[in-house]
């Protein structure tokens, strides 16, 4: 096979792979955006966290499946704070620089319970749908 043809085929495969990854990346971001609130409040339910810690926990969940970045996280934290679901306090705790810790409020706990119930309902419904009409089904 001529070298030029091989190069062109590799290039085509490469660009198809890039497009697939871009689509996947976009999909993950969209899904992450929709689930970020539940994810953040669920983490904060277990204890207070600072921003970067939250980001790392979210990014580490499901081997990076939750594509949450600063651009999603901080506006979300501000919104949750404004809504009264979380509160923020600056604390140094022996460090030279203070950190801003976020903690869930009783109102936030009620809210996360509601979100969890909604999420479970959605997952069950989707599972049922995928089982019924999934790939390979007539």
């Amino acid at each position: 096979m001529p070298k030029q043809a091989t190069d062109e085929r590799e290039k085509a495969v490469g660009s198809a792979e890039t497009a697939r990854m871009a689509t996947l990346d976009l999909l993950r971001r969209e899904l992450a955006r929709g689930t970020a609130e539940l994810a953040v409040l669920s983490i904060l339910s277990s204890g207070r966290r600072y921003g970067y810690e939250l980001l790392r926990l979210l990014q580490g969940t499901g081997q990076g499946l939750l594509e949450i970045r600063e651009g999603t996280l901080y506006p979300l934290l501000h919104r949750l704070e404004d809504a009264g679901h979380i509160i923020a306090t600056w604390q140094a705790e022996g460090r030279a620089r203070p950190r801003k810790y976020y903690a869930i409020t009783p109102d936030g706990r009620r809210h996360v319970a509601l979100l969890r119930a909604e999420w479970s309902g959605l997952v069950n419904a989707m599972q049922e749908l995928l089982t019924t009409f999934g790939e390979g089904q007539p």
């Binding site: 600072y50 921003g51 970067y52 810690e53 790392r56 970045r69 600063e70 651009g71 901080y74 506006p75 501000h78 919104r79 704070e81 404004d82 809504a83 009264g84 509160i87 923020a88 306090t89 600056w90 620089r97 203070p98 950190r99 801003k100 409020t105």
Partner: protein, 279 residues
């Protein structure tokens, strides 16, 4: 770590220059960014964090709360404008009084004509022009540099872009040029008339956090619902309530340019359709 510190400081300085509003609010946003970047540096991920954040301007849009702050009420806007335009109002009154005193036919125009008129006197030749220069240029520069004017400061208002950042000089000055276009153009400064919605008052517990940087006075922030419904309006800048001197519940208003309604936005190329160009 020294390099990291330098990188963080440079980034934070550029970040702060993009912010508008009270110094405490800027300090709060900066502190949050710097804390995040130092945590990233400690984890050896500063470069990645900066890359994710993008330019200091885009980072500023993430960390500021001005983008979701409630919009200023019509009442606040009008009172602020009244204070800011005092020199122009004063000159207009003085011109009218002179006409009455001279016994000539009284013609009141606001703003008064700045075109040279024979026999206009120093009041018309210099006074009107100085008052207009104050109202358009000086206030425009002040808005761009500090996000406020004397009147707005007294009422606790800040001018920000749609994303909550400091408005560029050109945008501030061009917007103020509409003063010359007459009452129909002024209506464009009252976005409530074009479909503004009510903002929810800020929850009372809001100030419990953020102690080092956040003042105890009301900052007038509300939930994002305050402006989400307005997103469809091609906007130019927003006038938000930052509550510097007031604790009255945040109302709603928006200083917008509707490209179809306001020739100044079109002329400046800074209406909602093209705002990406000046972000």
């Amino acid at each position: 770590m020294s390099d990291d510190r330098q990188t963080i400081e440079h980034y934070a300085q550029a970040f702060e220059r993009c912010l508008a509003g009270p110094a405490q609010e800027k300090t709060r946003s900066r502190a949050e960014l710097v804390a995040h970047l130092y945590d990233a540096a400690e984890a050896g991920e500063l470069a990645e964090a900066v890359q994710r954040l993008g330019s200091p301007r885009s980072a500023a849009a993430l960390f500021t709360r001005a983008g979701t702050a409630p919009l200023a009420s019509i009442n606040q806007r009008l009172r602020a404008a009244l204070i800011d335009l005092l020199p122009l109002i004063g000159v207009t009154i003085a011109l009218t009084v002179r006409q009455v005193r001279d016994g000539s036919s009284v013609q009141v125009a606001f703003p008064p004509s700045y075109v040279y008129q024979p026999g206009g006197g120093i009041l018309q030749t210099v006074g009107v022009r100085l008052a207009l220069a104050w109202s358009i240029l000086v206030l425009g520069i002040l808005e761009s540099r500090t996000g406020s004017t004397p009147g707005k400061r007294l009422l606790g208002l800040t001018v920000v872009t749609e994303t909550g950042l400091r408005a560029p000089l050109r945008a501030c000055v061009v917007r103020r040029l509409s003063l010359l276009a007459g009452p129909f153009a002024w209506l464009d400064w009252l976005p409530q008339l074009w479909g503004g919605t009510a903002a929810a008052p800020r929850p009372p517990h809001h100030d419990q956090g953020d102690r080092p940087a956040r003042p105890t006075r009301a900052t007038g922030h509300a939930g994002p619902s305050a402006c989400h419904s307005l997103r469809h309006i091609p906007a130019f800048t927003r006038l938000i309530s930052t509550g510097a001197r007031t604790t009255e519940p945040a109302g709603t208003a928006k200083l917008t340019r509707r490209s179809r309604l306001c020739a100044f936005s079109r002329a400046s190329g800074i209406n909602g359709d093209t705002k990406m160009a000046w972000r």
